[in-house]
Point group: C2
Chain length 409, copies 2
Amino acid sequence: MALIVQKFGGTSVGDVDRIKAVAARVARTHAEGHQVVVVVSAMSGETDRLLGLARAFDANPRGRELDVILSTGEQVTIGLLCMALQSIGAGAMSFTGGQVRILTDSAYNKARIEDIDQHRVRAALDAGNVVVVAGFQGVDADGNITTLGRGGSDTTAVALAAALQADECQIYTDVDGVYTTDPRIVPEARRLDRITYEEMLEMASLGAKVLQIRSVEFASKYQVNLRVLSSFGEGGGTLITTEDNIMEQALISGVTLNRDEAQLTVTGVPDRPGIASGLLGPVADANIEVDMIVQNTGADGATDFTFTVHRNDYERTLDILRDVAPAMGARSIEGDRKIVKVSIVGVGMRSHAGIASRMFRALAAEGVNIRMISTSEIKISVVVDEKYGELAVRTLHDEFELENGAVSA
Amino acid sequence: MALIVQKFGGTSVGDVDRIKAVAARVARTHAEGHQVVVVVSAMSGETDRLLGLARAFDANPRGRELDVILSTGEQVTIGLLCMALQSIGAGAMSFTGGQVRILTDSAYNKARIEDIDQHRVRAALDAGNVVVVAGFQGVDADGNITTLGRGGSDTTAVALAAALQADECQIYTDVDGVYTTDPRIVPEARRLDRITYEEMLEMASLGAKVLQIRSVEFASKYQVNLRVLSSFGEGGGTLITTEDNIMEQALISGVTLNRDEAQLTVTGVPDRPGIASGLLGPVADANIEVDMIVQNTGADGATDFTFTVHRNDYERTLDILRDVAPAMGARSIEGDRKIVKVSIVGVGMRSHAGIASRMFRALAAEGVNIRMISTSEIKISVVVDEKYGELAVRTLHDEFELENGAVSA
């Protein structure tokens, strides 16, 4: 007998029939002899409906009362899912965040979980019930209702799994797992059986939007076995776990493509301390997030400084640079919206030299010009012209034999 | 400075504009220097929408999970009303039943309030806030969400007023007070400034459906000054209070007409112990409520037994009597659906003799034949043919000078 946490998002509980389908799936796991804790979101559309009501009184609703309103979305779902479970003969008991007691800080609308009391959930499980918990919500130390911000139900599920030391935390989504790359670009893309937390974090932040980053961080911190799988189909999905649990580690786990980038370059800045902060400080002050940063100093003592931002922030960033760069003695300001970022991710590269040069060689052989390079311990990213994006992804997927699941051992 | 509880039902908070109107009214009371606790219902239609969702899983939804679902209706309203108050500059803080802590028994869907913790509400009031509380809901000793059943928001308001020793509990409705009789029958009907709890209970149960009976009983028990007034108009409404607070007590406070009755008579039953229980026991067993009961024994030792039931139960009651009456030796079973009950209510009749004969004489003068009579300490009811109902009401309203507010002192 295992203890399994299952999380279903808004689409999975989007109408009466889908709630019945979720109940059937949960009841099956329960009937197999497992203890099951289910975390659910609001029915799709419900949070927007509630936000719409709130906006009638405040164009930018926030604060304590917004959480009082929004938290009702999940509360309706837990009651309905329990009724659905009871109607097919499974004992079920619902809990709001406050009833569990999921203790958070008091940062309304974006609270963070501080502690979870397992007492009541355990008692309900031990009495033979499926326990259904409202995602996305908690209470602060004074009993005020808080919400974790949009998408927070994943975090609720992982935090519950950590507190209960669950054997597995299953996140049901509209995809059936994590793929080596986007199957729309590479039809041979393969679903990964297992992937490490670190790889998943790099993949998620690089564009494979399957899971909330925060929930993966949480799972990593508390070593929760996290499984992504489809609400609608069958199949084992992808298990996100510690490196120790992965017997045959692939050299590279995935290739990602990020199309939302734009590149900016300031050339010929006299090389002296304070260039980076002088250029990027005003950008940060405008709440623009900078992704890759590269600085090269030439023989003439002048520096070329290049960085990328989200494509939507391109014009604003250019305006800021035009304000600040001339006073720093810059020769020119250049920019390009038509670039993309291609990355390979894999813990295997820690123990294998030559991955980077193999990547660059493969791209060169296809005539793909590399404009920027940035590396981390388990990731190598390159910026290339937009028109080469898909070609680069296919080339790298092929080069590292991802369709076969080549292993590094 | 007074402490005032104001309760607004579903129609009063039925849409965004109405919630804004409620906020304006509450803020005005608050700006006058009073402490204000507001109790609200779900927006009209919301409880039915939630019930509809629940019915998709259970044709007859009930139990713990139904209360989890239904209680969200009021929770949305408290958040929205607080936002509306804040948007016009009034400090406001919402509380669910559980957050207040309105402790109830565990009878889901029809729980009864056992205790109210005033601690958090007092603290929020003392900090200068309007406190907005979700009506109709509480929690049991284990923290399970309960609801008080439909219409329970009135009870929440009165119970809070009692716990906080509020100066007044104001119930805003779609009428502007309690009238001496139905103004559709008697255009001269007058709004009562004050009425006693006992009179209100007799009026309510007799057909003047302004307030939940349970909330009046509660107010009476804890001596809460209860005021009924209009959500939409101005005016002082009607204060329901103790007899001590009414300086000039009217002889009669109101005349009521109940059209929902039907009369049944069993004639010629040999007069011996057990007739009443023999006839009415089977009726009660069928969950049919009996209203007036009259028994007359003639010189021949045979008894005529007459009673009234709700008109909807007439046929079923007749069937039951046809089953049981012959074995008791009854001569005949008669019935009439076309009767109504007319009552005069007033604590003044306690100290004034001759009210009943004055009533009967007035009716006789207009040719109204009385078919049954039943009296209590502060009420006299007669059953008359349906066609005489309005005439009887007008005659009595006139006889006791209700349009002038004649007093008994």
